[in-house]
Symmetry: C2
Subunit: 402 residues, 2 copies
Amino acid sequence: MISYKEALDLLRTEFKPVITNISVPLEDSVGYVLSEDIFPDINLPPFDNSAMDGYAIKYNPEIRKWRLIGQLTAGSESEFTIDESTTVSIMTGAKLPIGADTIIPVENAELQNDIVILNDNAHVEFGEHIREMGNDLPIGILAVKSGTLIETKHIPILAACGQRKVKVKKPLRIAVISTGDELVDIDNKPENAQIRATNLYSIISLIKDCGIKPINFGLIKDDKQSIANTFRKILESKAEVIITTGGVSVGQHDYLKDVLKELGAKTIFWRVNIKPGKPFLFSIIEQDGIKKYIFGLPGNPLSSFVNFNIFIKPSIKYIYGKASEFHFTAEIVEDLNKKDNKLHFIMGYYEYVFALDRYFVRKAGTQSSGNMYTLSQSNCMVMFPEELTEIKSGSIVDCIRI
Amino acid sequence: MISYKEALDLLRTEFKPVITNISVPLEDSVGYVLSEDIFPDINLPPFDNSAMDGYAIKYNPEIRKWRLIGQLTAGSESEFTIDESTTVSIMTGAKLPIGADTIIPVENAELQNDIVILNDNAHVEFGEHIREMGNDLPIGILAVKSGTLIETKHIPILAACGQRKVKVKKPLRIAVISTGDELVDIDNKPENAQIRATNLYSIISLIKDCGIKPINFGLIKDDKQSIANTFRKILESKAEVIITTGGVSVGQHDYLKDVLKELGAKTIFWRVNIKPGKPFLFSIIEQDGIKKYIFGLPGNPLSSFVNFNIFIKPSIKYIYGKASEFHFTAEIVEDLNKKDNKLHFIMGYYEYVFALDRYFVRKAGTQSSGNMYTLSQSNCMVMFPEELTEIKSGSIVDCIRI
């Protein structure tokens, strides 16, 4: 059995799906990773323009009166030439008239007939309130780098560079199945020894939360033939990744590993020294030179949720070059105890206390490994290291946001 | 002119669109706000079951050998009754046989013919490795409260409660238009005094980022009649909110306020003592007892981006009861200066320094108010209060994540 750290290292070296590119409309591109460098095809802004509504002048500190010879609105095609004695009224964003080098804001001057008079208390500085051509970004200078995770803040500059569509890394195609004789779909009422197939919905929502549309292959009985048939179907699909829940433990009906073996899969690792989620399986099937990656999650709802968050989510983020910003430290406000030498992920609830500028964390409810209610009440996982059996209240612990 | 705080107060009291409910499939519900209390219709788990693969026994500290009388897998319908001398092999999640009260993990015992023998070093405790019926959540106890923002962590318990679809608060319908004679759509190359209509795409992506599908009414010329006609069309649509960019300044071609006046709109406020984004307009039109809300953003790309983030986003979050978790404090690492008494929102870049357990922030590039490149390089806005003209390096400043 390997450690969590060893498992993460293996995932980093072995999980290497080929990521191709797609084009998406700019307004749908937030959350994708840009796959080309973007340069402006024009200067930004494309011309010297006014940053205020006001009057365009040719600066001369001695002069406080100008004759108004015209008006320029944003987008106006009119052309005027001014000298030190003339001015043009100009709207924000409008292109400067020829000769102008300074803008007087409209509230700093008064118009009497066709004469603009600077207010007594107003002060003008050379070059004020002008946005120079290329001041935002000159033509040919890198605007947004390939590999950038697109956020809303990138949309204006991408739009200004004329990117109606952007080339981005294509989301993985992930197939999902849940195995188990005990499972009924969630709109059924379970009878006798049955339970609802919560995992399927949980994993689908987690995949979607990574910005990926999952391919749902549904519920499969704990029957070797059914599992094998479904796997063959998935392998014929375009999915590069397959996530299963159930069937990876040591029970006699845990057929998943047998099926994978028969399909020629190579187990990279199975079972990690953690709790919950120990039976996690990572396996690779190579077909015609193309690798397909299998993540086998346990059937237990909390275990599969934790496994997804500590193995699969960081792996997906890693291959897209996205930062995993979900680690933080907090002060634990109760004693923690354990007997084994596993790394425990304890569902926790953290709060930031403003007055103390610090995060505090406590356990979220009971920690039974099937406890979905506790999960719903938590907002993080507290990491309780392998080598410790006790953590005293007041200690600093590592946590992972969920 | 009102202050930012006064503007926020007015938004809280006046922005009250009617939010109805819709049903969405569970796996699509992350990000929505639940609009009913959810209770389990069965005990969770629905029966006592094994938390491990192992052997089910009736506890007696004296006994270390049992006769194996059967096998139970998860979902198995078989029924067995055991006494202190017999056992049933049991898989994780399987319903306990009658008489069983304790589970021996499979690795702690050995099977010889039909006799299960406890390992010499193994210790059994009464009641171990059993998940009791209702231990996660008993029938009839509140599982997820109405008003909860649904996250992935809620999906397992909602699935276990049989919620194939969940009733959630319906997203607002938001119409968007951009006005300006200078605007060309972004796939065109601007000529002479034209610029690309970056705002339209920026605002659409910001609305989508709030989980809302915008209704795009496109680019409109700075022409009173065109603006009025488009507004009439939008008012006939189902949009409860209208966001405009451009036309709210004091320029002669800023027709938006005139059009709104003619349509009977009531201006709640116009112009806020901030920079950038001063000309922000908030207005309400009431038609047949139904209020429609208009947010008028300036045409400047940075101003409209900032306005959306400081006015519209918190207003939308507020009416859905979602927390605004984007305020934080950081140490500024350079001096800041300003001359006016406006509240400035300065595009900043913050970093968390682990060793010092503190956030540090600096200005992101130049602060020209049309600077889209600077925006793309920032990750927060630093708030520079009205009454200050200087903030010394090393001071703690309020910041807003973007």
